[in-house]
């Protein structure tokens, strides 16, 4: 059991989801406060990615040789994952710098395109990395579903809480967050019904946390709870993150190889 991989994958996916939602909100009128690329959302996302990269070193037996990780881009999904992570970090940093110094619009647009493409390819590489033919417990549709839903639910939660780019009162966003939490927990329940290692304690904890998050979101959606401060969003984000963390432990602990 490698704890660093649990945190690395989840933090990376949170950053990817946050970037995706940031750009979606910028495109949809009424969902964004109008903050441009100067918004500190990107700084937070870059910090997340650096934290993920740092954590990734802890699962290496010989981190001194980590610079060799890009040697096999032709066939290794792990090489590709690291490559796209490096691309994402670099392009985001350049995007922030060019935005601050008001460079040409086409440069900014190109860097944004590279960033979003790298984020999507990073998520795809992560999925393919774990869909190993010799590991049937991972080589199924629950892996992409779990990774994508974790990216979207944690990413949306992150972007609502930290930089406040999206309008917290927007009901459609609440509805989306609730849907993502439900979809993610349903995926876990279905995954646990497969004939691999059953982790009922983890599953109960995951369901309890997800239901708690849904109750709070529903309360806010139907205006049952008072709407004085944004603290409830922090609570929801923490619950969703812990719930996804448990889900990731379920994923790694269910590791089962075919053959020997």
């Amino acid at each position: 059991m490698q704890h660093s991989l649990v945190f690395f994958t989840l933090i990376c996916q949170t950053a990817i989801g946050a970037l995706i939602f940031r750009e979606i909100f910028r495109l949809i009128p009424g969902t964004c406060h109008g903050a441009g690329i100067k918004n500190n959302t990107l700084i937070w996302i870059i910090v997340l990615l650096f934290v993920a990269l740092f954590i990734a070193f802890f699962h290496l037996g010989n981190p001194v040789n980590a610079f060799n990780a890009l040697n096999n881009l032709q066939t290794s999904w792990l090489s590709r994952e690291i490559f796209f992570l490096c691309c994402l970090i670099t392009s985001l940093i350049l995007y922030v710098i060019t935005g601050r110094y008001k460079r040409d619009a086409w440069i900014i647009s190109t860097l944004l395109f590279i960033s979003v493409s790298s984020a999507l390819l990073l998520l795809y590489s992560m999925v393919r990395l774990y869909m190993i033919p010799a590991v049937p417990s991972w080589n199924n549709l629950h892996t992409p579903a779990g990774f994508i839903l974790a990216a979207l639910s944690c990413g949306l939660g992150f972007i609502l809480v930290f930089p406040g780019i999206a309008k917290q009162t927007n009901k459609n966003i609440l509805l989306l967050l609730g849907f993502l939490v439900i979809a993610s927990v349903v995926n876990t329940v279905l995954y646990n019904s497969l004939p691999y290692r059953q982790l009922s304690t983890f599953l109960i904890m995951r369901c309890f946390l997800s239901i708690s998050a849904i109750v709070i979101i529903s309360g806010k959606y139907f205006l049952i709870f008072p709407n004085k401060s944004g603290n409830w969003l922090v609570i929801v984000f923490v619950i969703i993150t812990v719930s996804e963390l448990i889900n990731r432990y379920i994923f790694f602990l269910s590791f089962e190889k075919s053959g020997l």
């Binding site: 037996g61 040789n65 060799n68 096999n72 290794s76 075919s258 053959g259």
Partner: protein, 204 residues
């Protein structure tokens, strides 16, 4: 293209682990790092007839190392290219490149790549590449007192022993195309039906 192959006669193997000991001696491997591993597969049931219980136990062994696969998942998974096919067509590892990510361990369905906690990198059987280049057989093969192992080019081995390369609990050979020919134990089909268990996981 498969170049080399091992032959495993599971019906003759007594599970004495001489092959494993010879491998560890030749390659100076620490405890816990087993390039060749002996799997002990056990199963059976009871039968009651007119108040008399009759046991039907069975047990057999499989001696397994790197299969030098035609489609080696360990090589394609390795991000550093530490795992590579050498000039003789043998899957070998360049320990100067390995970063110890252990992704090859996940990718290989035969458990061939073995993490060495002391060196903090992955190590693996290279079919005694130095012996093979001198026209000798790997140390595990030449040490087997039961003559349950053999090694040669894929053509030689298949000409001598046939082409069967699957026996319970080995993985589906279509995954990687192992350089392997196996003679199953007489109870192997029963073991597959019963989903018999590997009882010595701690040793492996």
């Amino acid at each position: 293209m498969k170049i080399y192959a091992f032959y495993i006669d599971s019906s003759a193997c007594s599970g004495c682990k001489t092959c494993q000991a010879a491998c560890k001696d030749k390659n100076d491997l620490d405890p816990g790092v087993n390039w060749r591993r002996i799997y002990d597969i056990q199963g059976g049931d009871w039968e009651e007839r007119e108040g008399v219980f009759t046991a039907h136990p069975y047990s057999y062994f499989l001696s397994v190392s790197c299969m030098n696969c035609e489609n080696p998942h360990c090589v394609s998974a390795c991000p550093t290219r530490a795992l590579y096919e050498n000039e003789r067509g043998i899957i070998d590892i360049n320990s100067d490149l390995c970063m110890g990510c252990r992704y090859c361990e996940w990718a290989c369905p035969y458990g061939a790549p073995q993490y060495d906690p002391k060196l903090r990198i992955v190590t693996k059987c290279n079919l005694c590449s130095d012996y093979v280049s001198e026209g000798l057989k790997p140390s595990c093969v030449s040490s087997c007192p039961m003559r349950a192992l053999d090694f040669g080019t894929y053509e030689e081995i298949t000409a001598k022993y046939g082409t069967l390369n699957i026996v319970y609990p080995l993985p589906d050979p279509s995954l990687t195309g192992p350089g392997l020919v196996v003679k199953p134990h007489k109870d192997a089909a029963l073991a597959e039906k019963d989903s018999a268990v590997i009882t010595n996981r701690e040793d492996i």
